[in-house]
């Protein structure tokens, strides 16, 4: 159990700066998810915490201890890799035991810890198998067990579910959430999948181009995004962003979520109203996603109401309280919203 501080971290690959002056606090026993598009620096950040990447500038603290230049094996962290990174020539048991042996844990203690952890992840009957004789899900469990037996202060996970098929991924997602509750250890989890981030994390760090765009819990991240990037990255379909000048003089952009648009309703007060024509519709069963052409551009609308045919003219209403205003740089204008909306 430990908190993590990253202070003014800069990381360069040769002459390209991928992360500049990053400051991040990861709370003790949180499930923190680093999320962003590929190349945003999320994996690099995780690897710097692990000690697998050198830091060019700045300091890293785990549990109040400065560990910027400490060897990976001595930081009290364990990591689960995307491709599991099991030792192919060792059995499941030897894989799990390797770290304990290196840490000079006595044989009796090793045996009892391995037994305990393997009961939790359900590996007991596979201890003598080689990784090549295991399924993807079982390999994932071995990787987890290998991390767990070391009783680390921090679990680091680099897209651990992306090699699994959809069904297994959902199952493992739930298991990881339960595991986090059971262990109460700090989890730092990297993914590019916003659904995974929202469903697992209690703190989400949205990153782009090596910069933290917004850090918040899932609810705030969705309801109160700090900028256009976060607003569009979280949620599917992404938030509609249209030119704002036409409606509010001081705003460059105006945004609203596809699920907050009312279709074909009677006009009401405190609403933004516009007309549009339905271009396409995707019926997903419980909900329908429309693509609608308006005079300010094409927008997406998600609704659980009645299904409308394509190619008709339709009236749209968005309640003012669901509208977000952004300046020219894409940052939220929260003060302006208070005044205008």
């Amino acid at each position: 159990m430990a908190n993590i501080y990253l202070q003014d971290i800069t990381k360069k690959y040769e002459n390209i700066t991928v992360i500049k002056n990053l400051n991040l606090e990861i709370k003790d026993s949180s499930f923190t998810v680093l999320v962003g598009p590929s190349g945003c620096g999320k994996s690099t950040t995780l690897r710097m915490i692990a000690g697998l990447e050198k830091v060019n500038n700045g300091e890293i603290f785990i549990d109040g201890e400065e560990i910027t230049h400490v060897n990976p094996g001595k930081r009290g962290v364990a990591m689960v890799f995307q491709n599991y990174a099991l030792y192919p020539t060792m059995t499941v048991k030897e894989n799990i035991e390797f770290g304990l042996k290196n840490n000079k844990i006595s044989k009796e203690e090793r045996e009892s810890v391995i037994q305990e952890i393997c009961d939790i992840v359900g590996l007991t009957e596979y201890l003598d198998r080689k990784p090549s004789n295991l399924s993807g899900g079982q390999r994932q469990r071995v990787a987890l067990a290998r991390a767990m037996v070391k009783r680390p202060k921090v679990f680091l996970m680099d897209e651990p579910l992306s090699n699994l098929d959809a069904k297994l991924r959902n199952q493992m997602r739930t298991e990881l959430i339960q595991l986090h509750k059971k262990l109460g250890t700090t989890f730092v989890y990297v993914t590019h999948d916003q659904v995974e981030a929202m469903s697992m994390g209690d703190a989400i760090v949205v990153m782009d181009k090596g910069v933290i765009q917004h850090m918040a819990n899932p609810v705030d991240l969705y309801n109160d995004p700090a900028n256009i990037f976060t607003a569009q990255f979280i949620g599917a379909p992404p938030m509609n962003i249209i030119p704002g000048k036409k409606f509010f003089e001081e705003s460059t952009y105006l945004g609203f979520r596809p699920e907050k648009v009312k279709l074909d309703s009677t006009s009401a007060d405190n609403c933004l109203a516009m007309k549009g024509k339905i271009l396409t519709r995707e019926i997903l069963g419980s909900e329908t996603i429309y693509s609608i052409r308006t005079e300010v551009g094409d927008i997406k609308v998600k609704t659980i109401d009645s299904v409308f045919p394509e190619d008709i003219e339709i009236q749209l209403h968005i309640d003012y309280k669901h509208i977000y205003l952004f300046d020219v740089a894409g940052n939220r204008q929260r003060n302006l919203e208070k005044v205008k909306l």
């Binding site: 000690g51 094996g73 990591m79 995307q82 099991l86 030792y87 390797f98």
Partner: protein, 300 residues
């Protein structure tokens, strides 16, 4: 209406028959291909196996049986005396000992030099890495017929000619081995090594406990290649030695041929059998590893 249906039905039947005909043809084709494959393999076995079987056969024949026509495959009486005669026609125990000593010494030295070298080339960044690797590869390309003279002169100036040194030292490092092992080490995914680092393993431990077991098939294959080529080496030991006591089996066996005016093929072949027997035993036990070395891949 009925007529149309009937026509359609008959069409359907004809189509079905056609399909069956086709699948029959396909089966015949498949069988033919398989037959060709097998007969090709049999021809290959004959080409490679014939001289070998001929050698075994001749080594067990009496001298008179060797020259008869048509030749006989199985001699009337198995002449194991040929082996004893071959063994006793020179200091064969000495030759055998020399061959074993030299081949194994070279192997040990090669392993000792090539494992750290290959590991460094595969896993570390250092100055002049590319140039040094190119030089290593160069060693692989220069034949011994070019190097033997300078090596001989050098050994002579160091007064080492009457020792095992000229037979062992020039082969203590193998460019081929370094190259082969470097490729293997490079194939090991970075994450596996990173996982080991996070498991608090030292570099030394990563090399011995993670990398070496993964390279095992390649190491065994290399050991085999190296051992066989040293064991069979004729030219180098012939040039570098001038005393009986340092000579190796291939030279001893070759001398069987020159021993008498009339070549005793039965003795020569028995000598050859003595020469290759250890190879056969080793190959028999290492077969699986050799195949593995060429199809080996890590798990995903």
């Amino acid at each position: 209406m009925e007529a149309r249906e009937r026509v359609q039905q008959s069409l359907r039947i004809r189509k079905k028959e056609g399909r069956i005909e086709n699948s029959k043809n396909l089966e015949i084709l498949k069988k033919g291909a398989k037959g060709l494959e097998i007969s090709g393999l049999i021809i290959l076995i004959l080409i490679f196996g014939f001289p070998f079987l001929w050698m075994i056969s001749t080594s067990l024949k009496s001298f008179s049986e060797i020259m008869i026509f048509p030749p006989k495959w199985i001699p009337d009486k198995l002449m194991f005396e040929n082996y004893i005669r071959a063994w006793n026609s020179g200091p064969f125990l000495r030759y055998f000992f020399n061959s074993v000593l030299i081949s194994i010494s070279i192997l040990i030295l090669q392993f000792a030099t090539m494992i750290p070298t290959a590991y460094a080339f595969a896993r570390y960044e250092f100055k002049l890495k590319k140039l040094l690797f190119a030089i290593t590869l160069l060693a692989l390309m220069i034949p011994e017929q070019i190097t033997f003279l300078p090596v001989y002169l050098q050994m002579s100036s160091w007064n080492l000619l009457r020792t095992y040194a000229p037979l062992i030292l020039p082969f203590a490092a193998s460019g081929f081995g370094v190259f082969l092992l470097r490729q293997t080490f490079m194939q090991v995914p970075d994450e596996i090594i990173e996982a080991a680092r996070l498991d608090n393993a030292s570099e030394w431990k990563i090399m011995w406990k993670i990398m070496m077991p993964m390279a095992r098939p390649v190491l065994i294959t290399f050991a085999l290649f190296s051992f066989i080529s040293q064991w069979n080496s004729y030219f180098w030991p012939l040039v570098m030695t001038n005393t009986q006591s340092l000579r190796t089996l291939p030279i001893g066996v070759a001398m069987l041929k020159d021993a008498e005016a009339l070549t005793r093929w039965d003795t020569v072949m028995a000598g050859n059998m003595i020469l290759i027997a250890p190879m056969l035993v080793i190959y028999f036990f290492a077969q699986k590893q050799i195949i593995k070395a060429f199809v080996y891949s890590g798990i995903k």
